[in-house]
Amino acid sequence: MLDLVYLVPLIPLLGFLTIGLLGKAIKKELVIGIIGSSAVGLSFLVTALIFFDMLSNPLSKAHIVTIYQWFEAGGLNVSISYQIDQLSILFALVVTGVGFLIHIYSIAYMKGDRSFYRFFAYLNLFIFMMLNLVLSSNFLLTFLGWEGVGLCSYLLIGFWYDRKFEGVRIKWTGDAGNKAFIVNRIGDFGFLIAMFLIYVTFNSLDYVQVVDAASESSKLLFGTGTITAITLLLFLGCTGKSAQLPLAVWLPDAMAGPTPVSALIHAATMVTAGVFLVARSSILFALSPAAMTVVAVVGVATAFFAATIGIVQNDIKKVLAYSTVSQLGFMFAALGVGAFTAGVFHVMTHAFFKGLLFLGAGAVIHGLHEEQNIKRMGNLRKYMPKTYITFFIATLAISGIPFFSGFFSKDEILWHSFSDGNSLLWLILSICAFFTAFYMFRLLYLVFFGKERFNTRTVHPHESPASMTVPLIILAALSALGGFLGVPEPLGAWFSDSPHLLHSWLAPLFQNSEIIIKNAGAEASHSLTMEYLLILISVAVAIAGIMLARKYYSDENWTKPRQLASTFKPIYSALYHKYRLDEIYAYLVVDPIFNSSQKFLWRVFDMKFIDGIVNGTAKVTVQLGEYIRRFQFGLVQNYALVMLAGIVLILFFLLF
């Protein structure tokens, strides 16, 4: 069964080729939609079969399936091969599972689009690339998937390439796509150099060999500059793909793409690739305490940065985008303190509830004829009850209300940030959790409650068709119940010895890394009372956030928030403009490079200096010729005269 893993990426690839090459000829949207969805659905089935196989016959070590040798030169030998282990299969399940639901949803969502087939071709290509990323057995194939998903993201952000989109230095949706690709390329630069360093250090790019070599020589490698450089460079790649500071700027603009794309790529799957990469190379990170600190700090800083911006945004997708950035920050904070399982757990639950939130947002936008401003919505629960209920469940999950999925995963992160990190990390993350509950319920109130703030005569919101609501309902079920895969000890000890299923599942992968971290760090504080207390605090924080949002936004005039916005105008404006990070980059990075290239390098150096030398040489040669030509005046008598003068001169020298 395990050897069939090649089918998992292959089927979506075939889907992409079929739709891409024949889509125009097929024409029928439903046929294209079914081909695209079933490709992902089948891929999910195969993944599930492999998963169940693994449940019944646990793997003692990673199972590698090699397809063929990719390239080979000198000592380098890289193959296209897939690695089945607990981590890769978990990610593959999420990617194909959530991917399948979003494909189904898209059939109705994209109905009537001019380039319907192109959309599904891109989506299938994306799934193929994402599967390569997570199933790969070496860094280089992961890199292929990594840049491949970046390509799909680029293509899908600019899918409606002739539509305008507003942003700093952005005019068209394609500009937003460019921004995403280029910012990611900066991260990929880090990934690339990290791979070179890994190769010269471990003489291999295969995960198994690198991990084995690293654990064998962990004493030798611990804390060395090389390992720190490798991990920091890898992490630079992660900050690009997973939109962390300082490269977080692209994700909000990525909302230019169709909403299912935002759900699939920019919330549920691609942006978590950074978490995957850190988890995959957890042993390397464990060997560098410095890098771990950087990861934790960046994660926390990003969580705070994005959560605060999310509070004041008015575009439904922008709110969710900043929320995604913030939640990714939570995941990295977890990874940074060594709680790898918690990070991966949050990837999973986040895929459920954030995927659901985006799909719900898509239904709302659709129902309101492309309206995205939440200040022009309201009372939609009356018109779209199913969307409302599912959206509400997802909101509860992300806010961390007990027993919804987000509660378990977020709580685990908060607990680890306290016990393995320090109280400051915990404090900031708790504040972020408060903001999260606040901005999510603000969104909920503005969209689904209150009075209609749109023109009810021209706009008639309606519930979406079943093919859109069924995926919502399934995701809602997962958002509600998915957390029970990771029940923390204090809450689950009464029914099982190891209630945290995910932890036991991933244990073989993270064991070594966790031991290294434990050995290196101070004794972690593991008091059960403390854990209970923190759970209570985090629930209280979430409820406080909700209550505040309720207080502010159940009032139709938003008196209090308006008042606050005008009192703290500078702060409000800074948050509204995303701390002006885009402008800072534009003025401090983009402009200087572009202007100096254009005004100096090109116009002066290349055109005046280099070409000047060339043309100058030519000119001098020509003029020299002109000058010398004067001696060839063609009068024989004069030649004779010159000759005579010469002879006299020579004789003169010879004689005296």
């Binding site: 002739d162 068209w172 394609g174 070179f196 490079i593």
Partner: protein
């Protein structure tokens, strides 16, 4: 008869034959040019399939005495590297001819004579095993190229053609001096042969490997060759002929210029500079690598600010070929293999980019990027091909460009001779810029709404254009997902070369090849 000779002389035969055609019989001229170039490609396939890639030596050798007094001969032969470049030439020539059908609308007879003559000389350059013969082919190329730019080019064609000519001639004069000196030195000083001179490349190479020229003299010979080749590549700061020549040349001229002619420079660096003067090559490796990485960044920055579509692609060549030079002067198997495959890649993807520019130029007769916008809407099929060429140039994994870039960067990174990470790091920044200028160009030309009314009615690709794009795409993808087909061909000759250079550098020490990882070294 020898297949290699058929491959060489078929284009010449075609060229001579077309001379006898009536000038108004354009159709016959076009199709016989196409026929001859296709035939050449088919014949070259025989070379490809009968080539033994396990053998690092020259194969299909043929030798005939030419000027016996000076031991100058008609000596040809093929090793892995020359086979790949020969195949590239034979592959791109029919495509070039095909794209000439639309681009060339005057004096067709002369044009196709020139194109086939050019193919003949280019193949000659890549298979010559005689310095003098090489020089002859090298100079022959100038003639058709000069006319192609000067007659069928754009507005500033005369300036561009003269500039191209003078640059190359200046370089090749230095090379000629070096060839004469070298032939004389090896012939009389070392071998004391009766002729007192030789231009037999293999003989010279083997002799020099046994008894090298004293380094302080060798350096000058190295520099003379290097100057000539660096102008051709072009290596920064000798690039200034290239944007003009590329921009003014007609589309097929740019394709052949970017696709094949520039490779003669990098080929020469590898074949002559590195093989004949390994000691000097090592001596100058830091300088060459710096010029390469400066070229990568500089070319990218220049490309970024261009408003002329073709100039942008031209500057991108400066950037892309920097990778090849960097790979060569890393003296690692990865780097050189990467450099060789990158030569092929650049030929395919930049050639295709020029064809894309040509497609638009033929429809709109302008090269200004700002004249376009939203073209994807009116030419959706073209958009797909253009996107593939663009992404291949960006170096997206899964397409050809990535393989070359990755290997050259890796080679430079772990090179014991360069012994510094800085080259790779700077060059990798160039990879970021490649995305910037290419994506931005694509955005401005293809995306957005159609705002210029004259773009509303553009016709999508014709059958002929499809026919010229599809084969290139096949190879772009092929090299991207299964580069071993091509890497294997030059693997053995590269290994032999690397070993040789390492022997010169590290004398009797154990070779750093196969690898000794740092980790094991520390234990």
């Amino acid at each position: 008869m020898e297949t290699v000779l058929i491959t060489l002389f078929l284009p010449l035969l075609g060229s001579l034959l077309i001379l006898f055609f009536k000038r108004d019989n354009v159709k016959a001229i076009k199709y016989s040019a196409l026929g001859f170039s296709v035939l050449t490609f088919i014949v070259s396939l025989f070379l490809f399939f009968s080539f033994d890639s396990a053998n690092p030596d020259f194969q299909f050798r043929f030798e005939a005495i030419w000027i016996s007094q000076f031991d100058i001969g008609f000596r040809v032969g093929i090793d892995g590297m020359s086979l790949l470049l020969l195949m590239l030439t034979a592959f791109l020539s029919p495509i070039t001819v095909l794209s000439s059908f639309g681009a060339i609308q005057k004096r067709e007879k002369e044009y196709y004579v020139m194109i086939l003559l050019l193919e003949f000389a280019m193949i000659g350059v890549f298979i010559s095993l005689d310095l003098f013969l090489f020089y002859v082919f090298w100079e022959i190329i100038l003639i058709p190229m000069y006319f192609i730019i000067g007659i069928w080019g754009g507005k500033e064609r005369i300036y561009a053609a003269v500039k191209f000519f003078i640059f190359t001639v200046v370089g090749s004069l230095f090379m000629l001096v070096a060839i004469v000196w070298l032939g004389y030195y090896v012939g009389s000083t070392i071998l004391h042969s009766p002729a007192g001179f030789t231009s037999d490349l293999i003989l010279i190479r083997n002799t020099l490997f046994e008894s090298a020229i004293p380094l302080d003299i060798e350096k000058w010979i190295f520099l003379a060759f290097a100057l000539s080749f660096c102008i051709k590549v072009p290596v920064f700061p000798l690039h200034s002929w290239l944007p003009d020549a590329h921009t003014e040349a007609p589309t097929p001229g740019s394709v052949i210029l970017a696709g094949v002619l520039l490779k003669m420079g990098t080929y020469g660096l590898l074949r002559f500079n590195v093989e004949l003067f390994p000691a000097s090559s090592i001596e100058y490796s830091t300088l060459m690598s710096w010029l390469a990485v400066i070229g990568i960044i500089y070319g990218a920055l220049m490309a970024m600010v261009q408003t002329d579509f073709k100039r942008l692609v031209a500057y991108s060549s400066v950037s892309h070929l920097g990778f090849v030079v960097l790979g060569i002067f890393s003296f690692t198997a990865e780097g050189i293999q990467g450099g060789i495959i990158q030569m092929v890649n650049h030929g395919l993807s930049t050639g295709m980019l020029f064809m894309c520019v040509g497609v638009l130029y033929e429809r709109r007769h302008t090269r200004q990027i700002s004249e376009y916008g939203g073209i994807a809407r009116v030419m959706p099929n073209f958009a797909v091909f253009f996107a593939i060429a663009m992404l291949a140039s960006v170096g997206l994994p899964g397409l050809n460009g990535f393989v070359g870039e990755y290997l050259t960067l890796l080679g430079a990174f772990r090179s014991p001779i360069l012994d510094s990470y800085v080259f790779t790091i700077v060059a990798a920044i160039g990879v970021i810029f490649a995305a910037v200028y290419l994506l931005w160009m694509f955005q401005r030309v293809m995306f957005g709404a159609v705002e210029n009314p004259s773009n509303h009615t553009l016709k999508d690709l014709s059958k002929r254009e499809w026919l010229s794009f599809v084969p290139i795409v096949v190879f772009i993808v092929w090299i991207g997902i299964y580069p071993r087909t091509f890497l294997n061909i030059s693997e053995q000759s590269t290994r032999a070369l690397v070993n040789k250079v390492h022997q010169v550098k590290f004398k009797n020490q154990p070779l750093p090849f196969p690898d000794t990882p740092i980790l094991k070294g520390e234990e």
